[in-house]
């Protein structure tokens, strides 16, 4: 098995685990962590695509994109953590109140 395939499979596994965590845990901080796990999986997968052409040299573009993506995810996480903290401080809760099904926005990424 080529190393790129192993990376790809690991990425898929991380995405699956993260998604499971995102859906099953109502705790907001856990959800943010789950979001980061999914993100890491996607980045890993993205990185694996750099080697999709065995003959040519490794494609540098995905690395640039991944770095940008990590920064974006970091920013979103920081905002999320800030909001969770403020929310916990104001309401004393760490989960969103249930009404409807806000946790499942449709098609799960596979």
């Amino acid at each position: 098995m080529a190393s790129s395939s192993i990376f790809g499979l690991c990425g898929a596994l991380l995405i699956g685990m993260g998604l499971y965590g995102f859906i099953t845990h109502p705790h907001l901080l856990r959800r943010l962590l789950a979001f980061n796990v999914i993100g890491s999986g996607i980045f890993l997968l993205f990185g694996a695509t750099a080697a999709r052409l065995p003959s040519a040299a490794t494609d540098p573009v995905p690395q640039a994109l991944i770095i940008t993506g990590i920064v974006v995810a970091l920013a979103a996480t920081a905002l999320g953590v800030g909001l969770v903290l403020a929310y916990a401080r104001v309401t004393g809760r760490t989960t969103l109140p249930e009404d409807g099904a806000p946790t499942d926005p449709g098609k799960p990424p596979r």
Binding site: R31, F46, A86, V90
Partner: protein, 497 residues
């Protein structure tokens, strides 16, 4: 040269101003006005240039795709940019009293945070409308989401924070789905530039492409708040302060919708199959009916307007069955495509106007219950006129941009024999008339003893300006129609007969 400068200015001016406003908080309100002026100047340069020369492409720093990022100013981009500029101008001017443009000494966190966030949001919007790179679009979309979420939470109260968190959760999953889709597309094609993708993917319906585009569509639909993904919209839009709601409702969904259009009509038009198109259209149709019925049941003004947004977003997705896929070769596709664009533009103007009206009315009446608006029409005639004109546009009555949109969409639905969508359009129009009539009728009723806080004239004029712009879009629709044909995706080329 000046044209390239104008394109760059559209993207960078709000961004730079936002950063300065973080460092120098007092400058926020003034910097915003400067950006409004700069943006207007850039559009004044760009629009004639596009009209005379056609769509303009600008590889940033001279780096060509696939390595560099390309910005392209076509008719659709300019139409959205102009709409956003009008809405932002009105929002930034009306936000001055609430967020400390008046020179008051007390500086609070919300007054400090509003200006950079609004400017960041604007910058992200402009990038979304101009960019031709799917990853760049991702970054812009994230910037947009982050600033929008922060705007929802700006008051720091429990409701706002909860709404912001719910919005963030939806948006994060949406972004991940989009990102995964982009990664898959890159793996397949080695580029994320829309034009290059279109060249590569001609005719093919590879399974990977389908999966990638499916993921991206789901993610973008969640961010647009299309029907099953709408749960976050109503608390977020109704919980934010009125100027923020205006931006959130009028502009933010349009950004993710614009990316959807870029993907389905420009990057990979060959992927659309009739069942897919009908599914997207059906979700739109359900959104129209569901959102309208819920709007009808609300007793609070901002909630009603927020549900109305859920419904109005549904109309946007009728573009897929009416103009997408194989039907792009049909003569009606151009009409349908442009009709939906007209809807997006006039909804943006009218909905922003309506949220600004609601904000002023809530301040004047001291409550956001619709019943509390009794007698406000006589006290604030300009707001009442603005609300009424915005309602005319949203219902799609002539003469307004909403009517032009409805006419074009109805005609293509009839010509193509898709009567179901025509019925949805008409029922949606009647339902929106029903729910928008209530606050107007209440405001019109005379009530002797109600005492309202006075509303400054300038603040009243802003929503009226937006509503008039929405009407004007219908009265002078020839110009915008022609503009939007410039650089329109070749997949929707032939004219409407």
């Amino acid at each position: 040269m000046s044209v390239s400068l104008a394109i760059v200015a559209l993207v960078t001016a709000p961004l730079v101003a936002a950063l300065i406003a973080v460092i120098l908080p007092r400058w926020g309100p003034w910097l915003s006005l400067l950006v409004v002026a700069g943006n207007a100047a850039a559009l004044v340069v760009l629009i004639p240039a596009i009209v005379s020369q056609g769509a303009l492409t600008l590889p940033i720093g001279g780096w060509q795709a696939p390595l560099g990022i390309t910005l392209r100013a076509d008719g659709m981009a300019l139409a959205f940019l102009t709409m956003a500029a009008l809405v932002m101008a009105a929002v930034l001017v009306s936000a001055r009293p609430e967020f400390g443009g008046g020179g008051e000494v007390t500086e609070t966190r919300r007054q400090w945070a509003f200006w950079p966030l609004a400017l960041l949001l604007w910058s992200a919007l402009n990038v979304v409308f101009l960019s031709r790179d799917l990853f760049n679009l991702y970054v812009a979309l994230e910037l947009l989401t982050v600033s929008a979420v922060a705007l929802v939470a700006i008051d720091g109260k429990a409701d706002g924070l909860g709404a912001a968190l719910r919005y963030l959760m939806f948006a994060l999953l949406g972004s991940l789905a989009y990102l995964l889709g982009a990664a898959l597309l890159y793996a397949q094609h080695g580029t994320l530039d829309i034009a290059l993708l279109a060249d590569q993917a001609i005719g093919g319906r590879a399974a990977v492409d389908m999966m990638a585009v499916g993921l991206m569509t789901a993610g973008l639909a969640a961010k647009t708040a299309l029907f099953p993904f709408h749960a976050w919209l109503q608390p977020a839009h109704s919980g934010a302060p009125a100027p923020a709601s205006a931006m959130l409702s009028a502009l933010v969904p349009k950004a993710s919708f614009a990316i959807l259009i870029r993907i389905w009509f420009e990057a990979l038009p060959g992927l659309a199959t009739p069942p897919l198109l009908v599914t997207l259209g059906a979700m739109g149709a359900i959104a129209i009916v569901y959102g309208s019925v819920l709007a009808l049941r609300q007793t609070r003004l901002k909630l009603m307007i927020a549900y109305s947004t859920v419904a109005q977003i549904g109309y946007l997705f009728l573009i897929f069955p009416l103009a997408g896929g194989d039907s792009y070769m049909q003569p009606w596709a151009a009409g349908a495509w442009t009709g939906v664009m007209f809807h997006a533009l006039s909804h943006g103007l009218a909905k922003a106007s309506m949220f600004l009206c609601a904000g002023l009315w809530i301040v004047a009446a001291g409550s956001d219950r619709i019943e509390a608006m009794r007698g406000l029409a006589s006290a604030t005639p300009m707001i009442a006129s603005a609300f009424a004109l915005a309602a005319v546009t949203l219902v799609g009555l002539p003469p307004s941009g909403g009517f032009t949109a409805k006419y074009l969409m109805l005609t293509s639905a009839f010509v193509s024999g898709q009567y179901v969508w025509a019925a949805v359009l008409l029922i949606g129009g009647l339902l929106s008339a029903a729910y928008l009539y209530r606050p107007l009728a209440v405001a019109f009723a005379r009530d002797g003893d109600a005492v309202f806080k006075p509303v400054p004239r300038l603040a009243q004029a802003m929503p009226l300006m937006l509503a008039l712009a929405a009407i004007l879009l219908g009265l002078a629709s020839q110009g915008p129609f022609a503009l939007m044909q410039i650089g329109r995706p070749s997949s929707a080329e032939a004219g409407l007969q």
